[in-house]
C-alpha cells in the first residue's frame, strides 16, 4: 500500500539554524498520525516545508507517490491535501457560510467557468452540510470574525475539510480551545475521519488530545525525529520523556 504522504530527508535551515534536520516519515491511508515535541522542535516548520509555505533546504515530499516538493500551496490543495494553521486564519469579514463556500469553490470547474456560473459555485449545499456537521447552524450568516475563538477553530477545520481532501494536516487544532469545546472538536474530527476515510496528520502540544485521537505518534526534538510508535509506547519512552523534561 503506497503511502498517502511520504517525506524523505526533510531539512530546513535558516541562516545558521537547522530547524528541521533530516526528518523522514510516511503516512498511510486512514491513519491519524500525531506529531509532538517540545516548543521549537520544528513541527510547524516541517508542516510548512511539506505544504509549500516554505521551500525546504533539502529533502522530498511525495503525495500518493507523486513528487510534490516545493509545489505551490494552491496546487497542492487541488491535489487533495488540506491544512489548518496554528495562528487562527479564517476570513473575518466573510460570513461563516461564505468562508466555507470559498474553501470549496476553487475546486469547482475552471477559473473562467466560476466567473459565469452560480454565485456559490455549486458548493452552497456542501457548505450547509458542513455547517450542520460542526454545529454552527445558528452562526451560519454571521461574520466569521464575530465567532468565539473555539468556534473559529471549528470553522478553520471545517474549511480544511470542505473540498473533501484525502489528507488533512492540522497544526495545533486544540491550541487555546476551552475544555468543553475541545471535546466537541475532537469528536467531530474523529467523526469526519471515520465518515470520509480521511487521513490526518496532527501537530499538537496537548498530550491528552493527541493520545485520545491519534493511532500513531512521531516525536520531534530540536528538528530531529527521536521516536515513533503508538501513543502508549511514546508516553512511556524514556527518550521522549527526557526531551520534554530536559527543556
Amino acid at each position: 500500500m503506497s503511502a498517502v504522504l511520504q517525506v524523505s530527508n526533510m531539512r530546513k535551515t535558516f541562516g545558521g539554524i537547522t530547524a528541521v534536520d533530516n526528518v523522514s516519515f510516511e503516512v498511510h491511508s486512514g491513519e491519524i498520525l500525531g506529531i509532538i515535541g517540545p516548543n521549537g522542535s520544528g513541527k510547524s516548520t516541517l508542516f510548512n516545508c511539506v505544504l509549500g509555505q516554505l521551500q525546504p533546504s533539502a529533502g522530498e515530499v511525495h503525495v500518493d507517490g507523486r513528487p510534490t516538493t516545493g509545489m505551490r500551496p494552491c496546487d497542492l490543495n487541488r491535489l487533495g491535501v488540506s491544512r489548518t494553521f496554528q495562528l487562527l486564519q479564517v476570513f473575518p469579514q466573510l460570513s461563516v457560510r461564505d468562508n466555507l463556500i470559498l474553501a470549496g469553490q476553487e475546486h469547482q470547474g475552471s477559473i473562467t467557468s466560476r466567473l459565469f456560473g452560480r454565485a456559490d459555485a455549486g458548493v452552497g449545499d456542501a457548505a450547509g452540510r458542513m455547517i450542520e456537521f460542526f454545529g454552527l447552524l445558528h452562526l451560519a450568516d454571521e461574520p466569521a470574525g464575530s465567532l468565539s475563538y473555539g468556534q473559529q477553530k471549528l470553522l478553520d477545520a471545517a474549511m480544511a475539510f470542505m473540498a473533501g481532501p484525502r489528507l488533512v494536516l492540522l497544526d495545533e487544532p486544540a491550541g487555546g480551545v476551552n475544555p468543553t469545546m475541545l471535546g466537541h472538536l475532537r469528536e467531530r474530527l474523529r467523526a469526519y475521519h471515520v465518515e470520509q476515510s480521511a487521513t490526518f496528520v496532527v501537530i499538537e502540544h496537548q498530550m491528552e488530545f493527541v493520545m485520545a485521537l491519534c493511532t500513531r505518534v512521531l516525536v520531534l526534538a530540536e528538528g530531529r525525529l527521536i521516536a515513533e510508535g503508538t501513543p502508549r509506547d511514546i508516553r512511556q519512552n524514556p527518550i521522549v520523556i527526557e526531551a520534554y523534561l530536559g527543556h
Partner: protein, 291 residues
C-alpha cells in the same frame, strides 16, 4: 577610447550618486519595512534648503551644513515621527501610499513655494578639465566620486566597525532577534532614517550642480534609486552600492551610444530584465515568507 573613458568616469560619478540614494533607500526598507516612494524628492529637496540659506546670506559652506541639518530634521526626524510611525499599525500598503502622496506633496511644495524654474546650484569645486591620455575629465566628476567614495567608506566603517553600526545591521536582518538580544530597535530604526537624510542631502548637493535644482528632479532620481536597489538586491546595502554604480555607468553609456530620445527607457528595461531573470538582484538573497 577616450570618449569611452570619459563616459566611464562620468558614469561612475553619476553611479556614485545613485549609490548613495539607493543605500539610504535600502537601509530604511530593511529596518522598518518602509518603501519610501518619496526618496527621489528627498534628494531634490535639500538643495533648496541650501539655496534658501544662501539667499538668506549664508556663505556656501555654511549653507551646505544648514542644508544637511535641515534635511536630518525634516527628512529624518519629522518624516519618521509624523509620517511613518502613525502608519505602521496599518501595514505596508497605507505607508507606501502615504509616501507616494508625500512625494507629490514635496514636489508641488517646492514648485509652489520656491520656484518652478530650474535654479543654478554652486559646484563643490570649480569645473576644470583635466587631460588624461587624450580623455577630458572634469574635476567635478572627480570631486563627486571622491565625496561619494568617502561617504560610502565612512558609512561602511560605521556599520561594520562600531557597536551602534552592528546593532543597526542586526535590526536590519532580523528585528525580532535583535530585540531579543537587547538591541534598542526603535532607536536603531531612527538612526537609519537619520542616515538616509544625510545621504540624500549629500547626494542632493552633489547632483544639483549638474542637473540644476528643479522640483522635478525627484522623478528620475527616485526611479534611479529604486532600480539601483532592485538591481543590487533589495536586502543588501552592498547590493545598493553595486546597483547604483552599474546603473550610472550603463545609463551614461547608453545615452551616448543609443538614441538620446529614449535615454530614460534604458534603466527601465534593465529593471524589467532583472525582475524577469534574477528578481533577487545581483547580490540579494531569495527571501521567504513564513507562516
Amino acid at each position: 577610447m577616450a570618449t569611452f573613458i570619459q563616459l566611464l568616469v562620468s558614469g561612475l560619478a553619476t553611479g556614485a550618486i545613485y549609490a548613495l540614494i539607493a543605500v539610504g533607500f535600502t537601509l530604511v526598507w530593511q529596518t522598518s519595512q518602509t518603501i519610501n516612494f518619496a526618496q527621489g524628492e528627498f534628494v531634490m529637496l535639500p538643495a533648496f534648503f541650501v539655496l534658501a540659506a544662501t539667499n538668506a546670506g549664508a556663505p556656501f559652506w555654511l549653507a551646505t551644513f544648514i542644508g544637511i541639518a535641515l534635511s536630518v530634521l525634516v527628512l529624518g526626524i519629522l518624516f519618521k515621527f509624523i509620517v511613518v510611525d502613525p502608519m505602521l499599525k496599518y501595514g505596508v500598503l497605507p505607508l507606501v501610499i502615504s509616501t507616494i502622496a508625500l512625494s507629490l506633496f514635496l514636489k508641488e511644495g517646492v514648485k509652489d513655494f520656491y520656484s518652478s524654474q530650474a535654479q543654478p546650484f554652486p559646484a563643490l569645486v570649480p569645473a576644470i578639465d583635466i587631460h588624461v591620455f587624450e580623455a577630458v575629465i572634469s574635476t567635478q566628476s572627480l570631486a563627486v566620486l571622491a565625496v561619494a567614495v568617502i561617504t560610502v567608506v565612512a558609512l561602511n566603517l560605521l556599520l561594520n566597525g562600531t557597536r551602534v553600526g552592528r546593532q543597526m545591521q542586526a535590526t536590519a536582518q532580523n528585528v525580532t532577534l535583535a530585540r531579543i538580544l537587547g538591541v534598542p530597535v526603535r532607536r536603531m530604526v531612527l538612526y537609519t532614517f537619520l542616515i538616509n537624510a544625510v545621504l540624500v542631502a549629500i547626494a542632493s548637493i552633489l547632483v544639483s550642480p549638474i542637473y540644476l535644482a528643479k522640483f522635478t528632479n525627484g522623478e528620475t532620481l527616485g526611479m534611479a534609486a529604486f532600480i539601483a536597489a532592485i538591481i543590487g538586491g533589495f536586502n543588501q546595502v552592498r547590493g545598493a552600492v553595486l546597483g547604483g554604480v552599474v546603473l550610472g555607468v550603463l545609463d551614461n553609456l547608453s545615452a551616448a551610444y543609443i538614441s538620446s530620445q529614449y535615454r530614460g527607457a534604458f534603466p527601465l528595461i534593465i529593471l524589467v530584465a532583472v525582475i524577469l531573470l534574477r528578481p533577487q538582484g545581483l547580490l540579494g538573497r531569495v527571501e521567504e515568507r513564513s507562516v
